[in-house]
Symmetry: D2
Subunit: 171 residues, 4 copies
């Protein structure tokens, strides 16, 4: 089990968790949200192919981790930006899904990702948080950090729009 010293060095000294503190207060509409999310995550076969794991769920929040392997790399040997986008898309999507009713599924409408530093490290972490949960649309933010030698660096940030598909259960 990899233990992380979370110490972000994005030009300034602060931790990711301080920087954007937990948005507490979201009330899930389905008390079984965690089972529903985990079951859906397990059906995303791409997560198994790349080796991603769902490590934390809270109402309005989701964290996914992805250990490095060379098969995930772009031409310079770092995590490919699209793979950072892949786990970030799922992290934001499932953060939104925690707040959706039982009979709904979640759809990504769009996202925009800025790559802030090379994805150079042994572990990639994507943390999705809901910013605004409307009846139909949900806006989420995802920060992705890469951990190298026990230090985490913010390597990407996403702003994402998701849609609640009412009356269409995920399964």
């Amino acid at each position: 089990m990899l233990r992380l010293l979370i110490d972000v060095n994005v030009n300034v000294n602060y931790s990711l968790s301080d920087w954007r503190p937990r948005l507490s207060g979201f009330e899930p509409r389905d008390s079984d949200y965690a089972d529903r999310v985990r079951e859906s995550f397990d059906r995303q076969r791409i997560m198994a192919l790349i080796g991603a794991q769902l490590v934390r769920l809270e109402p309005g929040e989701c964290e996914i981790q992805l250990p490095f392997k060379p098969e995930l790399s772009q031409q310079h040997g770092y995590y490919h930006g699209g793979i950072i986008g892949t786990i970030a898309d799922s992290a934001g999507g499932y953060a939104a899904f925690t707040l959706m009713p039982r009979d709904a599924s979640v759809l990504t409408v769009e996202y925009k990702m800025n790559l802030l530093a090379p994805g150079d490290g042994e572990l990639l972490i994507a943390r999705g948080r809901v910013l605004k949960a409307g009846r139909t649309l949900v806006v989420a933010q995802v920060d992705a950090g890469v951990v190298k030698d026990g230090r985490e660096t913010l390597c990407a940030t996403l702003l994402q729009t998701l849609m609640t598909m009412h009356g269409r259960p995920d399964q």
Copy 2:
């Protein structure tokens, strides 16, 4: 060899190629651009993991195709949005790279992707085109289509910013 009847049904009847015709006229600064791009693509190990192939290169343009396999799917069995983003990111990045000098490498600054239709089909095609090639920054557009039963549907569109890293050869 899969032969495609390109017939997009994005609410209206037009083909992707008509819709955004080839932007001819870009002059590559390095006549060996194709070798340089293909060699870089081959080093993107994620492309081999997912099974993506570089199928066409022109100055300012790049097309990547990815046959479906269940390991690429999201929870409903379609191509995961992040995987669409992965080959689209490479298609736009290599479209830009065709126009860069020999001693430069390419970096994705950011992209924004709208998902327009489910990634439901047997083949995914990402076509990147340079919109504007500045000295440092390049802006590209990528359309991704999914082919099902011989018909292609536009499933995503990206707007992407790339950076020329002068003096840092890709290799």
Copy 3:
């Protein structure tokens, strides 16, 4: 009346209209769409403040023009990027609104704009086109050109998501 020679010089020689030809074939659900759009545009008081005019409407398309005046400038004397975004947002929004039912209003969910060239000229033109019209969400693309000495240069491009507010007439 300003007559335009549309001849875009975005590194290559092609006209904006060739480059992304008219997407014909959208069927408006409300035959009075043009009146509805014009009436809504006239209520956007910001358009009068800056001097913008709605010059063309088709199903799924809208063009807005804005003559230059120094009061619209950023620090170097060109059109401010936010003002380019303002008329582009309305051009994409009203392109979408042409396709909406009579009892609906339109809401911008988000947009992403790349600035491709300085907004240096005597006339700004924003052309919005619908890419995909879903029941609830509409995706539009907007190109903005700036005309100087009779030549138009593509200065910005947007990718935009809009929402149909069913049952809430615009007025």
Copy 4:
């Protein structure tokens, strides 16, 4: 002087300042950055036309406020989204400019804005913060809040890329 009770109600109870705390620690490269920014802001004539004011500057941060007037409205009488984008673009741009050297100017490369709530209120506030300051590119985040009856609601959030134009002083 308008005094604000900052109490954001974005579904949850927290203040904007708690939510994304000040990123302290940026070191300006030009000790006269504040004069340089204010002088540039004063040359943005669009700010005078709409009535926007630069109210706070710190290294890596900038806040702009815009009192409501009907001339700024969209069709429903609220702040037009493009106007929210206009002051947000300047807030992020000047947040970046505080960190640039004396002989540089700042250029917006692109931004993406999500509109989270109607711009319904008597004051609009845009707070730009630098996320990452590279040598050439700077990534900033801007939150825009609208104040109604003394309560502030987060109405938009932007993710923005800016460019340092070295050797080209702003003036």
